[in-house]
């Protein structure tokens, strides 16, 4: 037999994406593309006020308008629960967080601009929109609580009148006394107050949902723009609408980006599900972009004071960080976990700081809910840490690279227990730093700076060494910390009779390319061509179970489940092959798609084994079931810990303050890499969002609680000519506790880049004595600093 051509579609190959052909030809199937027979359209009536009581809602004119099928308000949802929060944080006194009701539609009060009050369902979107304007809501406008510091002050107006204060939780982690003692006696303490600016995720596809009730079967189908359809089925079915799971199917087809904002269970999903049964036809709702700005969960929004204590040699002795974290008006699905367990636990960074203490207060305000957005807590941790380290370098006169090196956890120190509850399994922070320095020609910086100066530009160089935690787990520990869900993943490998493979995965792809990378894992393991593998995701009617995609968990948790299911397939395949070859299964090895017996010329192809499994005429039926399909649930033993070093060089125009990123390099350790092309793309995208946060983006509320950055006219989204070409490099230390040795790569770019960019700007402005500029670092802020100094 001639040697087979290498497939080049396995682990480590930059395979072009399976999903691209349909997207490039306009044949994607996004929720708003779906039109069901007899479908009606819903338009939401939303609060124009940040805080008001509702005295009454007159729906009569709207209900009588042309084409209107129904107008629904909170009264129509009185039988149902509120939207649940999926993570219960406890305060430092042991009390559970304050958890006010999050009604599906406003019940007597509205708490942020955009709070849904009523829904109009009509035969067309235009008719629904026209009728929505006729819904007459009688409000009494109240002064809103917009600013976090005002919200936590004594006597503050309450966002929820039935709560004792606007503090949702008062959480702490670490050793307060040890940190205090070290800070009190340290040779040097660097202090910094900083804002982690509020962001609007802005996936390009607005949220959309279609409810479709089948009265013949009693089954509900919800099509929704979700990153985790099974989670939505569980939350909405069990906790909101009391629909049994076997009568509720949730489909998240092609989804146009998520970045966290499509993890959460939103009111509109429950509304269209209920409405479809009420009006007797499918009901579709699709957000306008303006609506998305005031109804999608926002991200970040921290106010932090951080202190870093150092000894004479620049060794870190202690870190203390006190943070106010905005929750918005209601607790979104995972909001309380973000500034606590996904933030406080990361404050050791890549350093050996022995004493760490953090206090985080979650604060209710009359603003849109804040929840996980790309990185979710880890960008905030990385930002405060890498900013205060850089400032300490300036204050102590120690080179910022050297200061970091002196404090790095050493490569031989793993597994490493941090003082903030994590155990890093592996890493090599020196290696990624060295790589980043080499790739960005560190020694040539002074010459480049002089050349920039000759053109009237201030050049600056900034470094950030980040670490993050992906694939949040294990379930029992997360549960002890307040998670109300499991954090495993499931995968089914269905080998079809002719040897092609269908994978049912609980992970969900909304841009990440799972249909390619997961297929590569199959191709690599089973030795079959990529064309013979189909990855099915996003449908609770097809996929047994799953927790979805967030927190860079897909390959680390979902991929691991797939690897384990494939192992089971190979194990059974060996038993079938052993029978065919009249040998012991222990003697059968599987390689490159062939089952063979070592030291003999006997072999059976994977396809023959598959066919035998389904046509079991020559099959060990007495000891083995026919068929070849295996499922694995994988619950990780630990987080994974991607880390790396990002270096940014900027040029600032002295006349205008305009910042130009002239070089950006990301050196990451993601563990093993399935598809380098896709990983590089993930880093590019993450860096773009991080640069957007650092220089351009910021959600701004005025004192009346109006979102003044409520459209692409006002909210500054990075465009092609705002961003640099990002270069990447990788150093691999394989994850020690999952079968693929992978760590995850989806969020790193957004975590490492904001401090790198801001550090570069501060470095460029060295002559101006500026210690810190809050993000977004706009040209106006920079110009004002330069102009004040020049004046």
């Amino acid at each position: 037999m001639a040697a087979a051509e290498p497939l080049n579609t396995g682990i480590g190959d930059s395979v072009t994406r399976v999903e691209d052909s349909r997207f490039l030809r306009g044949l994607g199937n996004y929720v708003d593309d779906i039109v069901l027979p007899n479908q009606a359209y819903a338009v939401m009536v939303r609060s124009p006020h940040a805080r008001a009581t509702i005295n009454g809602i007159d729906t009569s004119a709207a209900a009588a308008a042309n084409g209107v099928l129904a107008v629904l308000t909170a009264a129509d949802f009185s039988a149902y629960g509120g939207l649940p929060c999926g993570w219960q944080v406890h305060s430092k006194d042991g009390e559970p967080m304050t958890e006010p009701k999050h009604p599906i539609l406003a019940e007597g009060a509205v708490r942020h601009v955009g709070d849904p009050v009523a829904i109009v369902i009509a035969q067309s979107k235009t008719l629904a929109r026209k009728a929505a304007a006729l819904v007459d809501v009688n409000y009494t406008d109240l002064p809103p609580m917009v600013d976090m510091q005002a919200a936590v002050a004594d006597g503050a107006e309450l966002v929820h009148s039935d709560t004792p204060s606007n503090v949702c939780f008062d959480w702490e982690l670490g050793d307060e006394a040890a940190a205090e003692a070290a800070i009190a006696s340290a040779a040097h303490v660097t202090r910094l107050e900083l804002v982690n600016n509020r962001l609007v995720p802005n996936a390009m596809e607005p949220r959309s949902a279609i409810g479709d009730y089948n009265s013949a079967t009693g089954e509900h189908t919800l099509y929704t723009t979700s990153q985790n359809p099974h989670v939505i089925r569980l939350l909405m079915g069990a906790f909101v609408l009391s629909l049994p799971e076997h009568k509720l199917r949730v489909v998240a087809p092609d989804v146009g980006g998520g970045f966290g904002s499509k993890i959460f269970h939103y009111a509109e999903e429950a509304i269209v599900t209920v409405a479809s049964k009420l009006v007797g036809c499918p009901v579709k709702w699709t957000a306008d972009r303006s609506e998305a700005f005031i109804s999608d969960a926002h991200g970040r929004d921290h106010l932090t004071t951080v202190e870093l204590a150092l000894d004479d040699n620049g060794k870190f002795l202690a870190l203390r960080a006190n943070t106010l974290a905005n929750m918005g008006a209601y607790l979104s699905t995972f909001a309380p976990a973000v500034p606590t367990y996904l933030h406080g636990t990361l404050l050791a960074g890549t350093y050996t700081t022995p004493a760490i203490y953090t206090n985080v207060k979650g604060v209710f305000t009359n603003t849109v809910a804040v929840d996980a957005y790309r990185g979710a807590g880890r960008p905030e941790a990385s930002y405060l840490l890498e900013r205060v380290v850089d400032l300490a370098a300036i204050e102590t006169g120690i080179d910022p690279v050297e200061l970091r090196r002196r404090n790095f956890i050493q490569p031989d120190a793993f597994p490493y227990d941090t003082p903030v509850a994590l155990t890093y399994d592996t890493g090599n922070y020196q290696a990624t730093l060295d790589l980043a320095l080499e790739r960005t020609d560190a020694s040539g910086f002074e010459a480049r700076k002089a050349e920039s100066a000759s053109r009237g530009k201030l050049r600056g160089r900034g470094l950030a060494c980040y670490i993050e935690a992906c694939g949040i787990a294990p379930s029992n520990i997360a549960g002890a910390l307040g998670a109300r869900a499991g954090l495993y993943e499931a995968a089914t490998v269905r080998v079809n009779p002719t040897g092609s493979v269908t994978v049912l995965t609980g992970s969900h792809s909304h841009g990440q390319g799972h249909e390619t990378t997961f297929a590569q894992v199959v191709s690599d393991t089973l030795g079959i061509p990529l064309d013979n593998v189909d990855i099915v995701h996003g449908d609770t009617g097809k996929v047994p179970f799953g927790m979805g995609t967030y927190g860079s968990r897909s390959i680390a948790v979902g991929g691991a489940a797939l690897a384990n299911a494939l192992d089971k397939i190979v194990l059974k395949g060996r038993q079938i092959a052993a029978h065919l070859m009249e040998a012991s299964a222990d003697d059968v090895v599987f390689k490159d798609g062939q089952f063979s017996i070592d030291g003999t010329d006997k072999s059976v192809g994977f396809g023959d084994v598959a066919l035998t499994a389904y046509v079991p005429h020559n099959f060990p039926l007495e000891t083995l079931e026919p068929g070849l399909e295996e499922t694995a649930f994988y619950d990780p033993k630990n987080f994974t810990f991607p880390a790396g070093a990002y270096i940014c060089e900027v040029e600032i125009d002295k006349e205008t303050g305009v910042i130009d990123i002239v070089d950006f390099h990301a050196s990451d350790d993601f563990g093993n890499i399935i598809n380098p092309m896709i990983v590089e793309g993930q880093v590019h995208g993450g860096v773009a969002q991080g640069v957007g946060q650092a220089l351009m983006e910021g959600a701004v509320y005025d004192s009346n609680g109006q979102l003044v950055t409520g459209s692409y006219m006002d909210y500054c989204m990075p465009r092609a000519d705002d961003l640099p070409n990002v270069t990447v490099s990788n150093h691999v230390t394989a994850c020690t506790h999952n079968p693929l040795g992978v760590k995850g790569c989806g969020e790193a770019g957004a975590i490492g880049s904001p401090p790198a960019v801001v550090n570069a700007v501060i470095n460029a402005l060295g002559d101006f004595g500026v210690k810190h500029i809050d993000m977004p670092v706009t040209a106006h802020k920079v110009w004002s600093i330069m102009n004040a100094k020049n004046a």
Binding site: F23, L24, G511, Q512, M677, G681, H684, G685, D721
Partner: protein, 157 residues
């Protein structure tokens, strides 16, 4: 009030009675079921709905159907030759110029317009010409690479 319109869409004659307030993008998506043209904003800034009207890139959310009466319309669905991708589409695939795919049709339609007006664009030309298209996934690095590669492939043909 309804109006009668007729136009050519992807080479096929189309005639319809539509409400006079109907946007061209709504007509393409809802009436013709050409759902590759996407709606990503309501202020004509994201470019996800970019199509070609009489050979030039236009955001389909900025036109009423009535204004397109008699026009030649091309959408993303008409770009490939069946399952064989156009060189620009192939360049996006080869250079990983797309992730979630939502902005992609608009990007490809803009890319074709960029290359039509400037067959050998520089990187900076491409970045500036993409001013009207937002992408949240890619950071644009690979979109720019794709368009530069696509331009070369188109010129070579």
């Amino acid at each position: 009030m309804s109006v009668s319109v007729s136009m050519t869409v992807n080479g096929k004659a189309v005639a319809a009675e539509v409400a006079d307030e109907t946007l061209l993008v709504t007509f393409l998506r809802d009436d013709l079921r050409l759902t590759g043209t996407h709606v990503g904003c309501d202020t004509s800034q994201c470019g996800a709905c970019t199509i070609h009207v009489n050979g030039s890139a236009v955001k389909a959310c900025t036109m009423l159907v009535a204004q397109a009466d008699g026009c030649e319309i091309d959408t993303i669905e008409g770009v490939s030759d069946g399952e064989t991708l156009h060189p620009m589409q192939q360049a996006f695939k080869d250079n990983h110029g797309l992730q979630c795919g939502f902005c992609t049709p608009g990007m490809v339609m803009s890319a074709l317009d960029i290359v039509k007006n400037n067959p050998s664009p520089s990187e900076q030309d491409v970045r500036e010409a993409l001013e009207g298209n937002l992408c949240r996934c890619t950071g644009y690095t690979n979109i720019v690479r794709s368009i530069l590669a696509g331009a070369k492939d188109m010129e070579a043909r």
